[in-house]
Symmetry: C2
Subunit: 222 residues, 2 copies
DNA sequence: CTGAATATGTGAAATATTTAACAAATAGGC
DNA sequence: GCCTATTTGTTAAATATTTCACATATTCAG
């Protein structure tokens, strides 16, 4: 096996896709080399953090030169297994599901939603953006071997049931937009995207920062 | 001013909305008290972390009893300023924008998108889910005083320009789905939601965990 | 009212993550 | 080829966050 298990921190793992996207963009602009401080401005991550992250993957850089963009693209592409297309399924073809099906990660040729599932009879049998929508009850018939990944856009109330169905059918990686945590089987990785929480946390810090900046009702000019 | 500036960690801030949602749900089920270990199972956060988070807001709990659900709901609601409706605008009414307009945080009566902006002539002047869509060029005319928050669903290439327009019109909190970091003015808080990165990081950890679990091609049963 | 049971709040330890700072290595002009 | 300017990789320090463990406070049954 080519890839060894790396002891990467969670923080580093979350940054790998960001690095990958950025060096790919540089590569496509014809840039051949990049220094950690230049990259820092592009990704908003401190140069020292970038260098430390990169050092996990061997000595990628050269003192006094920087990093080869091509090499970085290759290394991160390998880590993310960009060489093989990940065929994913999506459950819940409401507004958000439809938006994701339509968008379908077109910028990333290695990510592709290939089928959708729903329980709404008016959707079953149709296609959205060319992707067929099946009855969720027929999941086990439609799923193809080698599919490990699902995107879940169902209401919180339906989520637990949907996720256990997915697990029963060999899905091990799930991205879900319903914020209700569910007990997952040991082998299953679930990532929750909680838009309301993100927004509320943003509003909270925005308001907090205004509390400090606000002038303390000055009685006189001075 | 009632609310004092609190020195909360970023980690704690991100959890406040989760706590709020959960205690609200408990409250609506008629639950009156909750212990940190019970809450832990609901939110998937360690009991000690919950207690430490809560201790930031004063002595909310009582030994041998737990926490009053009503009190928690009140405290977190106050922190998040749920009493006043946050009127937000959305820029970019493509697939994702349309999905968010249609959904419009209905579960949260205090969050509301009240207008959309786009540059596409075929959208300008229409409504989506009852929300009017205006020409982005007329932002300064349409925006209402007291609006501080925007959701951005435009392509990465348009993002920098859109964000500086928003800043020029008094927007200080921005949630965006375009992953390209932009230089923001000091007072502006920007939160990036990067779906592709989330998905790639998820796939990465899923694959990593399989590398360990995989049996090492056993030669014989034993 | 008493005492056993319970569950908080927190000091201290453990863990995770970022950042500073610099020796060592390389680049590239001359 | 030499020498100076760069820029890495990394050690050590700083910061951030989580978790343990338990003294203390409160509950509630009898």
């Amino acid at each position: 096996m080519v890839v060894n298990k790396l002891a990467l921190s969670q923080a580093t793992i979350k940054r790998i896709p960001v690095y990958y996207r950025t060096v790919k963009a540089l590569q496509q602009s014809g840039v051949k080399r990049v220094r950690s401080d230049r990259l820092s401005k592009l990704v908003h991550i401190a140069p020292a953090t970038i260098r430390r992250d990169f050092s996990n993957f061997g000595d990628l850089g050269r003192s006094g030169y920087g990093y080869s963009v091509d090499l970085l693209a290759e290394v991160f592409g390998e880590l993310l297994e960009v060489h093989s297309e990940e065929q994913m399924l999506l459950v819940g073809c409401g507004n958000l599901g439809r938006a994701l099906l339509t968008n379908n990660f077109r910028r990333n040729p290695d990510l592709s939603i290939v089928m959708g599932f729903d329980t709404d009879p008016s959707l079953i049998g149709t296609t959205i953006a060319g992707i067929p929508i099946y009855n969720l009850a027929t999941l086990s018939e439609k799923i193809r071997p080698g599919m490990h990944t699902a995107i879940v856009c169902v209401p919180s109330s339906a989520q637990a049931s949907v996720i256990s169905q997915l697990e029963a059918n060999g899905i091990t990686a799930i991205l879900t937009f319903a914020p209700k945590p569910v007990p997952a089987q040991p082998g299953t990785k679930i990532r929750y995207i909680d838009l309301t929480s993100e927004l509320q946390a943003l509003l909270f810090v925005d308001h907090q920062s205004k509390l400090v900046q606000e002038p303390k009702t000055p009685l006189k000019q001075s």
